[in-house]
């Protein structure tokens, strides 16, 4: 064979080989775009079957995921999709599966139980859901039996609602000095103290709306050195209820990453308040709230939406107090299920182990988001 022919064969063979390598053992970026899929992995083991299902969920390849299920005859593809993304618009609806873990629980020759722990990313932060899956052998392949949680049906009923609502008519953009404007609501910080944590300094506290109108509130904190010079300024971001009804109290949590409390001479707090249109509803009752001690300290309970409207996302803010009534921590969680009227939704909020021992009591407030209710 002459050199030219050898070269042609070499280039062709090398190209094919390189493509094969890139496809059978794709790189990190390629895997990311293919949703973790490669051509080597078939559902030849229970674990591989669950991993393939996880990949398909991640790619939102619902058809392929549904087709791979062993018990798909028991429900429709729509049911399957809604079980994962929520029957009502909720945090799950727009969440994307960022990654997942698969852990075999036990296995026999034709049946296995595998735990699928799914890490979702959502606009308000990541959350994790866990499903224990039965995997059954079907010929030389394994199929997942999906444990479908069916849609909650709310019994027909009439729930009267006439929540108080405040509207604010703002001045136009023009300058009209001397024309009276409505006063900003009066708010007051009723508790505040800093805590040193491994990740930095945290300023905790509570803010009260002393006024008779709803307030938009926010808290800004500035750490100052012993010489009085500012070290850093941060805001409370989402660990606060930004809309406070009259006489309502919210916790706040201001995080200063990489700061050291010993460097701090003083803290300047700036509670901000403004008029805001707001509604007094919906009322959310927190039932059976319980502090579960360390190890694995949590606060658990259930949220019950006492209104007739669906709450799409609820944000639970947990204020934890020590025996003297001082705030020791503020924990929070977003619900990944919509809150249907009068339907309890459980919550389970983690508390740092080292603080759990100090906690003597807790107080919970719930902020809500309903589609169309923000404008």
């Amino acid at each position: 064979m002459n050199k030219g022919r050898v070269l042609a064969v070499f280039i062709t063979a090398a190209t094919v080989a390189l493509i094969a390598i890139g496809t059978l053992w794709p790189g990190k970026t390629a895997l990311q775009y293919s949703g973790g899929k490669n051509l080597l992995r078939t559902s030849s083991t229970p674990q591989a079957a669950v991993e393939n299902l996880g990949d398909e969920i991640r790619l939102r390849a619902w058809g392929a995921a549904y087709s791979s299920l062993g018990n798909k005859a028991e429900f429709s593809q729509s049911d399957f999709v809604h079980d994962l993304t929520g029957y009502y618009l909720s945090l799950r609806t727009y969440a994307t599966l960022e990654s997942f873990e698969v852990r075999p629980l036990h296995a026999s020759s034709d049946q296995a139980e595998v735990r699928l722990r799914m890490h979702w990313s959502s606009v308000v932060g990541p959350f994790t859901t866990t499903r224990d899956l039965q995997v059954v052998k079907n010929g030389d392949r394994w199929n997942v039996d999906w444990p479908l949680v069916r849609k909650t049906v709310v019994p027909p009923q009439v729930i009267p609602e006439n929540y108080l609502r405040w509207d604010v008519i703002y001045r136009g953009p023009g300058d009209d000095w001397g024309v009276q404007d409505v006063e900003a609501p009066h708010v007051r910080i009723v508790d505040m103290h800093p805590v040193q944590r491994a990740e930095g300094v945290v300023v905790l506290g509570e803010l009260l709306n002393e006024d008779v109108v709803p307030a938009y509130v926010s808290v800004r904190a500035t750490l100052q050195s012993k010489s009085g010079s500012p070290i850093s300024t941060e805001g409370s971001f989402d660990k606060i209820s930004h809309i406070l009804l009259p006489k309502q109290v919210t916790p706040f949590f201001v995080n200063f990453p990489n700061a050291t409390l010993s460097d701090v001479g003083s803290i300047r707090m700036e509670p901000l308040s403004g008029l805001v249109s707001a509604s007094a509803g919906p009322v959310i009752v927190i039932e059976n709230q319980q502090l579960n001690p360390a190890p694995g300290a949590t606060v658990t309970g259930q949220l019950v939406n006492q209104s007739g409207q669906v709450v799409n996302i609820a944000h639970i803010l947990e204020t934890l107090y020590d025996k003297t009534g001082q705030v020791v921590w503020v924990a929070d969680q977003y619900t990944d299920h919509a809150l249907l009227p009068l339907t309890p939704i459980p919550f389970d909020i983690h508390i740092p182990e080292d603080l759990a021992r100090k906690v003597s009591s807790e107080r919970t407030i719930v902020e809500t988001y309903s589609v169309g209710g923000v404008h």
């Binding site: 050199k3 493509i19 775009y33 899929k37 805001g235 996302i313």
Partner: protein, 583 residues
């Protein structure tokens, strides 16, 4: 299989003027309807140009990232757009510069192909350029003005490089040096990678070339190569000095941002369609010919190897080659430009193939070739419409008007769900943003530490994107970020829970403006990256000056030997090794 003889290039080449007319016929109407404005990056270049228009000697642009330096991106095509915009406005100036690049590419491909193939084949290669899928893809879909401007300048420099190394012509040396410098001023990456994919094959060709008698002696070869490398290197170092200073002082250390051009095109077929089928088009059918002819013809082997490596790298994550050759740069660069360069390297082969097919089959070849060319071009042009970018349909005029009135522009803003329209908005508004589309220019830690692209498209970057968005909203006060302009209700819950509230709605309530109370007006950030005045003067003078110099130098008449290299062996029969097969 049968053994055939190559057909000698007996027919005359197509006149270059005719090919340029064809390029105008195809691309001028598309430019006049401003089709490239729909591409991903066109507005990005127009945005940069708009800054040069108003601040030619001050590359510090406060409209993005609370301030960033435009010295982080070679300025030449954007400065030309700014200059031409004085006559016809920014949009049409962009079209004019892009059209000029297309025409220049036709000439560049012709001259480059002449190094390898006969004039007739080179003229077909130049004609193929008009319909080249990757060119249309970059112009109408990707909007990579810098790449499509630099490549033709570079290609035009290569024949001078050949003449200098092969014959020691000082005129060629001067022309090559100036053109290489201007190419770098248009796009530094083209020069860097072009050296490997384009220049190394040309140098190899010099060693192989026996035309006109003796081979070039090794000492002469080494001397001339080193001389031009040193001179061009020094020239580029000076012309782009602020760029290098910015790069050395503030290297791009941010977390890598995913880009689909790095996907595996087999495992992700949609990206295969986007980054392989659209740019290559009917050229895919020519791949076997390219490999065979390139292997069998000794003279074409360097070109084949250049093409092959560029081809493999251009396949992104489909092969491990890109990762192996580029290392970390693989996570920073986008791969479609390698495909573009691969197609340019393939064009001499395509010209050869077309020439042979037409000489042999006449009209029976012309019709299918014309159809293939038309399909390739049409598909690549249509691709931007078939697969629209996020925000392609967004109208930002009303948003810009809102930001520009009632002193709203004393605060900064970000958009969510506007895709690449954030550049368009930045051109139209006086307000500054903490977001932007030039990832290498940004320095705000909230953006660089999360491995996501623009905040406007946060959700497409998964957790990293949303983390970056949250980090930026968390520091809204610090940056005077008061307005979040939302076109995608996906982001509403975050804004609501983080204390923002809707204050206005635009475009039939499809765009909501959210505001945060208590945010102080934006103040200029005293960033260390701000270039001193002398750098601004250099930046406004040397890169543009290099292009003017290039125009002047190219006008110097060359010796006949340089310009018309006669009728060399090129890819003719004498170079073929025995046993060449065509299936």
């Amino acid at each position: 299989m049968e053994r055939i003889e190559s057909v000698a290039p007996s027919s005359r080449p197509l006149p270059i003027s005719l090919i340029l007319m064809a390029a105008l016929a195809v691309h001028l109407p598309l430019m006049l309807i401003r089709l490239p404005l729909n591409s991903y990056d066109a507005n990005f270049h127009i945005f940069f140009a708009s800054h040069y228009l108003h601040h030619w000697f001050n590359p510090w642009n406060t409209k993005w990232y609370a301030g960033f330096s435009q010295t982080t991106y070679p300025p030449l095509p954007q400065q030309w757009v700014a200059l031409v915009s004085h006559i016809m406005g920014l949009d049409m100036a962009y079209m004019a510069v892009q059209l000029a690049a297309i025409l220049l590419l036709v000439v560049g491909v012709y001259r480059f192909s002449l190094l390898w193939v006969s004039p007739r084949a080179a003229s077909f290669a130049a004609l193929a350029t008009v319909f080249l899928g990757s060119e249309s893809f970059l112009v109408y879909s990707a909007g990579q003005l810098a790449t499509t401007s630099a490549a033709p300048i570079y290609l035009n420099a290569l024949p001078y490089l050949f003449d200098w190394i092969r014959r020691g012509s000082w005129r060629a040396f001067l022309k090559a040096s100036v053109l290489f410098t201007a190419a770098a001023a248009a796009h530094h990456a083209t020069l860097l990678f072009g050296s490997f994919f384009f220049a190394v094959p040309v140098l190899a060709l010099v060693l192989l070339d026996r035309q006109g008698g003796e081979r070039t002696s090794v000492p002469a070869f080494v001397f001339r190569t080193v001389t031009i490398v040193l001179l061009v290197g020094a020239a580029i170092a000076v012309v782009l000095l602020p760029f290098w200073i910015a790069l050395i002082h503030y290297p791009v250390t941010q977390a890598p941002i995913p880009h689909p051009s790095r996907a595996n095109y087999i495992l992700s077929p949609i990206w295969g369609l986007n980054y392989f089928i659209a740019p290559y088009g009917a050229m895919i059918l020519a791949l076997p010919f390219i490999v065979l002819r390139g292997s069998m013809t000794v003279r074409l082997r360097p070109l084949l190897l250049g093409f092959w490596v560029a081809f493999l790298v251009g396949l992104g994550g489909t092969t491990p080659v890109g990762q192996l050759l580029l290392g970390r740069a693989f996570e920073v660069l986008t791969m479609e430009r390698f495909t573009y360069w691969a197609t340019l390297l393939a064009l001499p082969f395509v010209g050869l193939l077309v020439s042979e097919l037409i000489d042999r089959f006449r009209m029976r070849a012309v019709i299918p070739l014309a159809l293939a060319a038309a399909f390739t071009c049409a598909f690549a042009v249509a691709w931007v419409t078939i697969r629209q970018a996020e925000g392609a349909s967004v109208k930002v005029d009303s948003v810009a008007a809102w930001l520009n009135r009632d002193r709203h522009d004393q605060y900064r803003y970000i958009t969510l769900g506007f895709g690449d329209k954030i550049s368009r908005l930045a051109v139209l508004t006086d307000a500054g943003s903490v977001d932007g589309e030039w990832n290498s220019g940004r320095r705000l830690p909230e953006l660089t530490s999360n491995g996501a692209g623009s905040l406007s498209s946060s959700k497409y970057f998964g957790q990293a994107g949303l983390d970056a968005l949250r980090a930026m909203l968390r520091h809204a006060d610090k940056y005077g970020l008061k307005w979040v302009i939302v076109r995608d209700p996906y982001y509403d819950p975050l804004l609501k829970f983080a204390g923002w509230r809707p204050v206005d709605m635009l475009e039939n309530n499809t765009i909501t403006i959210w505001s945060k109370d208590g945010v102080p007006p934006a103040v200029p950030l005293n960033a260390p990256q701000m270039p001193p005045r002398w750098q601004g003067i250099l930046w406004g003078t040397l890169p543009f000056g290099s292009s003017i110099l290039a125009i002047l130098v190219v006008l110097i008449p060359g010796r006949k030997q340089e310009e018309g290299r006669g009728d060399p062996a090129f890819a003719s029969q004498e170079d073929l090794e025995p046993g060449r097969l065509v299936s």
